[in-house]
């Protein structure tokens, strides 16, 4: 029984080890290969659009992976490789959108909204606090109340 469980767990872990990058694509230089993997993770597959090319099995993704490695072997820096592909496929191919006038709304809106929400929330909380304190009775009121109670007591007896 225990062996069965072990086997099941191992079988369930198996898909995690499956990669789209095939052995014949890989570079013999482990440093370049590692760089290629990093770059591939930042590039979007244009066929299956929410996958990076590193994990996509599409034909174009494979071509792009090979191209990335080819450029690296030719001596390009990581930025050069990404720029090369961006020139052909546009900003769309980058999984992390660049920061430029067209994307200001995208990058700035979330922190701006958080800021607005914070200001809004804080003012409401602070205003609530300022109203809250109910003034206790002062000396004069206290005497007034005592006199009133005494007067009531006298009347009832």
């Amino acid at each position: 029984m225990r062996r069965f469980f072990l086997f099941t767990i191992l079988a369930m872990l198996l898909p995690l080890a499956v990669q789209a990058v095939e052995p014949d694509e890989m570079l013999s230089d482990p440093v370049l290969e590692a760089r290629a993997r990093e770059i591939s993770k930042e590039l979007r597959c244009v066929v299956c659009q929410n996958q990076d090319i590193d994990s996509s099995n599409a034909g174009v993704a494979r071509d792009l992976r090979l191209l990335v490695r080819e450029r690296l072997v030719a001596g390009d820096t990581d930025e050069n490789v990404i720029a090369y592909i961006q020139a052909r496929y546009g900003d769309f191919v980058l999984l992390k959108p660049p920061f430029k006038p067209e994307t200001y709304a995208l990058w700035i809106a979330p922190p701006a909204l958080v800021l607005i929400a914070l200001i809004f929330g804080l003012t409401i909380v602070l205003r609530g606090k300022r109203k809250a304190p109910i003034a206790g009775l002062n000396e004069e009121d206290e005497q007034h109340v005592t006199r009133f109670i005494e007067a009531q007591k006298d009347r009832s007896t």
């Binding site: 659009q49 071509d63 020139a87 052909r88 496929y89 546009g90």
Partner: protein
């Protein structure tokens, strides 16, 4: 001030509603990718002819020396929609005199020759892109894709997917008219 604040929910609802209306529009295609080449010079490439075919190959320079816009169609014999699109393209060439070049994408030359001899060859030039590198230069995501390139080598229009069906054809025709490849009315 207080009264204006009361209108805030309405404003929020309008903004959200606007986004929903835009997002749920059935005509919107989320997989539609804007091409970087529109109004840009066509990419560099140099493709040999398909082996076993008389039709010459072509390079970027061949797109420029003409006086009319050229339609560049990326196709392959293994691509089923291309088969349907083939009739539309042939029609444009024979009836309206459109200049059509083809990029034979990742296709076995033997299969391409057989495909063209069965369906007919409307292409004036066909470049053989065996490893798909020219496809990447053009920024294609699959086949078929069709570009209209102006006489000066500027990419004027890109159509992703097969030009099949009235909607697609009229859209492509409109682009052809606009680029000056055909004149309006003679259909």
């Amino acid at each position: 001030m207080k009264r204006l604040l009361a209108l805030l929910p309405l404003l929020v609802a309008l903004v959200f509603g606007g986004f929903f209306l835009w997002g749920l529009n059935p005509d919107r295609d989320p997989s539609d990718i804007p091409s970087v080449f529109i109004s840009q010079p066509a990419p560099q490439f140099d493709l040999p002819p398909v082996e076993g075919l008389e039709t010459p190959g072509f390079a970027r320079a061949d797109l420029i020396d003409g006086t009319r816009p050229v339609v560049v169609n990326v196709f392959a014999s293994w691509c089923v929609p291309c088969r349907a699109e083939h009739a539309v393209l042939t029609d444009l060439v024979t009836r309206e005199g459109v200049v059509l070049y083809g990029i034979n994408y990742k296709d076995k030359p033997k299969d391409a020759v057989r495909w063209l001899s069965t369906l007919g060859n409307p292409y004036e030039r066909i470049g053989s892109d065996l490893n798909g590198r020219a496809g990447i230069e053009w920024g294609i995501s699959g086949v078929p894709e069709t570009f209209i390139v102006g006489p000066d080598g500027t990419v004027l229009f890109r159509y992703v997917g097969p030009i099949v069906g009235n909607k697609a054809i009229s859209k492509f025709r409109a682009a052809l008219v606009q680029s000056g490849a055909i004149t309006e009315g003679n259909s």
